[in-house]
């Protein structure tokens, strides 16, 4: 049914990706009257994602793994240097939890269903056009559905509107990215390729300046084959597509494959943002630039922050205390969990993107000789330092 009048709620979530659904679910569970709007007609589709996630955080945020959205359970990761020396990280052998390749559309829908079951009202094909303001504070959004414009008034507005986020910009929260702080991505889902269902593969170096090529297996010869390249390293139109096509052409196991879908997207590889709340408004997930700048993964961080965001938003809305100072509790809490790793991985990424291919080769060469049971920046650097101290000199402050 089309919406013909203005709406009102405690917490309004803009965007029904994983971060938005988690926020909505936890706000509703904490007693708030929650509306979530999504501009697409189908939550989770089209999929704009490599679909790789780790497992360790799922239970903490109340997500139960389900065969509805788990596609493949991998044993580890393989990292390829420019000359394709390979390093294997097999956490399963060490008894650690590793990861899943998921069906992202089903995953996003499952989280939206959780949010709905907790009491959230969801409006699809509903586009936020601007925020509403009163005395400098955000009081809701202007929205449009089926060509009809209306207002949604809310005690707290949560911007969970992804990489392309507008809510923060409308509300005056600086979320602008420099071109060095973004990877431009393209991915094909391919069938009939030689991917190994046990591993997520990463190819580093000049094949993808400032980023990497990934191959995430989906079983039965199907895989997500994608690339991210730092925008500051791009100079011609469609260069990202050229890089990916070239990589595929150079790898017979993939060149023989057939593309069955194609998605693009942007990923932030920036240090953590300085401000995530303002009067009456909060940002979460990609909208708050919470993507891990080293791995480019953003689902876990968005969900972890989403739970905190929902809890704080509900409490603020119910008590009527929704100023920036009140909402800072969220800012402090997500930073306590995520900020240190985001910063450390950003520093590591900054170094990595400046390394020449020969250095990458050296590093991977060392690492292929040691059995790494836990992929952490620190472990990697320590192993490299033993053989090539000159390579890790620049990283001393991390060690």
């Amino acid at each position: 049914m089309a919406i013909s009048t203005d709406l009102k709620c405690d917490v309004l979530v803009v965007g029904a990706g994983p971060s938005g659904s988690m926020t909505a679910k936890w706000a509703a569970k904490n007693g708030a009257d929650v509306i979530m709007i999504e501009k697409r007609q189908e939550i989770g589709s089209p999929v704009r994602c490599g679909e790789g996630i780790s497992k360790s955080w799922l239970a903490d945020v109340g997500i139960t793994p389900s065969s509805r959205w788990i596609n493949v359970e991998v044993e580890g990761a393989r990292i390829y240097s420019p000359s394709e020396k390979v390093m294997e990280i097999n956490e399963k052998h060490a008894g650690n939890e590793v990861g899943y390749v998921v069906e992202r559309d089903a995953f996003d829908k499952a989280l939206a269903i959780d949010a709905a079951n907790a009491g959230t009202t969801i409006h699809l094909k509903t586009h936020a056009l601007d925020v509403l303001r009163k005395d400098g504070r955000v009081t809701g959004v202007k929205a449009k559905q089926f060509g009809q414009k209306f207002e949604i008034h809310a005690s707290v507005v949560v911007g969970a509107d992804g990489f392309e986020s507008q809510v923060g910009r409308w509300a005056g929260i600086p979320t602008n990215l420099q071109i060095r702080d973004m990877d431009s991505c393209l991915q094909y889902r391919m069938t009939n390729v030689d991917s190994d269902v046990r591993y997520c593969d990463f190819y580093l170096g000049k094949c993808a300046p400032g980023g990497y090529v990934w191959v995430f297996p989906k079983g039965d010869g199907l895989a997500n084959v994608g690339i991210g390249v730092q925008v500051s390293k791009l100079h011609h139109p469609a260069e990202v597509r050229d890089y990916l096509d070239r990589w595929i052409a150079q790898h017979p196991g993939y060149a023989k494959g057939k593309k069955i879908d194609m998605v693009g997207g942007g990923v932030s590889i920036s240090p953590p943002i300085k401000q995530s709340v303002a009067d009456g408004v909060m940002l979460v997930g990609d909208a708050a630039r919470m993507i891990d700048p080293l791995t480019g993964g953003g689902i876990a961080n968005g969900c972890i922050a989403g739970k905190i965001c929902g809890e704080v938003a509900a409490r603020a809305a119910k008590s009527g205390r929704t100023s920036k100072a009140d909402l800072m509790e969220y800012d402090r809490r997500w930073r306590a969990v995520l900020e240190e790793k985001l910063l450390r991985n950003w520093v590591a990424k900054e170094k990595l993107v400046s390394l020449p291919d020969e250095t990458f080769d050296k590093i991977i060469d060392v690492l292929s000789g040691v059995r790494l049971e836990k992929l952490s920046v620190l472990n990697i650097l320590k192993a490299v330092r033993e053989r090539y101290p000159e390579v890790t000199q620049e990283f001393e402050n991390l060690l």
């Binding site: 602008n176 431009s184 139109p237 693009g264 997207g265």
Partner: protein, 63 residues
């Protein structure tokens, strides 16, 4: 638009894959993406070319 070159975003979906990369990076926030369609604000855009570099498939051109 005196003094400004033409910026052209292929918005029919023949090239553009509606990915939002350009929207997220435009320093002036003048590109819009509704569910599928992409458009930009002629007046605000300075033709800085950042979106052209960020677009993974080459759907934007200036000149």
């Amino acid at each position: 638009m005196p003094g400004k070159k033409d910026l052209y975003i292929e918005s029919s979906g023949q090239v553009c894959v509606s990915c939002g990369a350009c929207v997220g990076i435009c320093p002036l926030n003048c590109i819009y993406l509704d569910e599928w369609r992409i458009g930009f604000d002629e007046e605000v855009c300075t033709r800085c070319g950042i979106c052209v570099r960020a677009c993974p498939v080459g759907a934007i051109s200036i000149g």
